[in-house]
């Protein structure tokens, strides 16, 4: 076999066991191996399939509505026409029947005072809304994201999220509702949490959370308010995924992970003032490497 053939056959895996062993112990092979290893430094950047798919869906959703209609069968077409009309009629009835006025979402505001001087503090990327007019009889707030509530005594006060409702009379508590994560912590008084599956009453210093459908009760040591009010996010046995999402929100960055188990539990916290310090508080205990690339952060598990 010529020299050239040997390399060709090695590349396509056609050498016999013995031929391969002989070749791989040659000096020639050491050079080839060096080159092939060095070439790995030029690997393509990480491609986040899920993230890119979400981006695509967002771009498509506007166009989709037109072509969807053409693919409906006749019954669906009738429904497609009728449902909006019914919806509109209901809406009109609702507005005439009651004079309740739903306010717009309030976001990007640190501190919000409600009509009864209860107050709310919103974490990053969070918003609330509430009806102004009927406030005395029905104190009800809708929340997306995370907020700390300090509620004045009075009639029942409700905080509704997609995951559940928290009902209280007068107290202080924190509600966090993010993708697959719902957590309520009571800091004083008591609150009642109701989700689709369960209902629990929390006394002060107690917490309740649902992570990916799994419920859990926990205690907090004597704290008066959540750490995020003081510029720090802290976590106790929380999946790494939730921690990374919080980091993305606090710093407005996007994190790409490499070879990392996102369900491993993390206990600790990070600061909101210095991205490097924050990254180290996550990376060091979990033995991760990080790289900051403008707005993108790459976290890699290096093993050992």
């Amino acid at each position: 076999m010529t020299h050239e053939e040997l390399i060709q056959k090695w590349l396509s895996g056609e050498l016999s066991e013995q031929e391969r062993k002989d070749f791989e112990s040659s000096e020639e092979f050491a050079k080839i191996e060096k080159l092939l290893n060095a070439a790995k430094a030029f690997k393509a950047p990480v491609y986040d399939v899920n993230k890119e798919y979400n981006r695509l869906s967002n771009n498509l959703s506007t166009r989709k509505s037109v072509s969807l209609f053409q693919r409906f069968n006749p019954i669906m077409r009738v429904a497609a026409v009728l449902i909006p009309i019914l919806f509109l009629a209901t809406l009109i009835y609702y507005f005439i029947g009651t004079s309740t006025e739903q306010n717009n979402w309030i976001a990007d505001q640190d501190q919000i005072f409600l009509p009864d001087s209860s107050y709310v503090r919103l974490n990053k990327d969070s918003k609330i809304r509430y009806a102004n007019t009927n406030w005395r009889n029905e104190r009800s707030v809708e929340l997306i994201g995370e907020a700390f509530f300090s509620v004045e005594k009075g009639s029942q006060f409700n905080v509704a999220t997609t995951e559940g409702v928290v009902a209280v009379l007068g107290t202080e508590f924190n509600v966090k509702n993010r993708d697959g994560f719902y957590e309520v912590v009571c800091y004083s008084g008591s609150v009642k949490v109701t989700t689709d599956y369960t209902s629990v009453v929390l006394e002060s210093s107690k917490g309740f959370r649902v992570i990916d459908g799994k419920e859990e009760n926990f205690n907090i040591s004597d704290r008066l308010e959540p750490d995020w009010l003081n510029g720090e996010s802290s976590f106790n046995s929380v999946p790494l995924r939730v921690v990374i999402e919080e980091l993305e929100r606090q710093y407005g960055v996007s994190v790409v992970t490499n070879n990392i188990d996102l369900n491993q539990l993390y206990t600790g916290g990070f600061d909101h003032n210095d991205l490097n310090v924050a990254l180290e508080s996550i990376a060091i205990p979990l033995k991760l490497d990080y790289k900051i690339n403008g707005n993108e952060i790459i976290l890699t598990f290096e093993g050992k």
Partner: protein, 170 residues
């Protein structure tokens, strides 16, 4: 029997199985300056628009063709440049400065040599040796024969070695 790719699950399945390969293909062939991520996006947008006319088995080659054409349309014919990743050095800290310098120069030569390969040689070589794609998979992606894939990889390796391995005459 699924006739086309208009169903969201089908479309999503195709995205999950093809998008990364398509991205890597565009990256190795044309470099990062030509935004491979965006080309992948627009190729899939086009697939969605024409979903009625594409059967699932043909979706992959449809995407590769559309993306390649789109790239050629917008390409500024800049010389392809690959991202130079510095992290590959960190193992050398205990070595002598001469060794570090030598390694650094080796990497510089390799970078230049990779950039000077033809687009087809580079994409074939990198998909095989760095991404670990099988010859058969690459042949499908590029629409060429397995033999041609093997030949390209060998030629690429030969050229790279000529440019990178300096003979020591001293």
């Amino acid at each position: 029997m699924i006739k086309n790719v208009c169903k969201e699950q089908v479309f999503n399945g195709i995205f999950k199985s093809v998008s990364k390969d398509l991205h890597d293909f565009l990256y190795y062939k044309y470099g990062h300056e030509n935004n491979p991520q965006d080309i992948v996006q627009s190729a899939f947008e086009k697939l969605w628009k024409n979903c009625k006319d594409v059967i699932p088995a043909k979706a992959k080659s449809y995407l590769f063709t559309v993306a390649n054409n789109e790239m050629l349309n917008i390409i500024s014919r800049k010389k392809t440049s690959l991202n130079y990743k510095l992290h590959s050095y960190k193992n050398y800290t205990t070595e002598t400065p001469e060794f570090v310098l030598e390694e650094k120069e080796y990497h510089e030569r390799l970078k230049k040599a990779l950039e000077e390969l033809t687009e087809d040689q580079r994409v074939t070589f990198m998909l095989n040796r760095v991404e670990g794609k099988k010859h058969k998979e690459i042949a499908e992606m590029l629409g060429i024969s397995r033999k041609a894939v093997e030949k390209r990889i060998y030629t690429a390796l030969k050229i790279l070695r000529q440019k990178v391995e300096l003979e020591n005459f001293s």
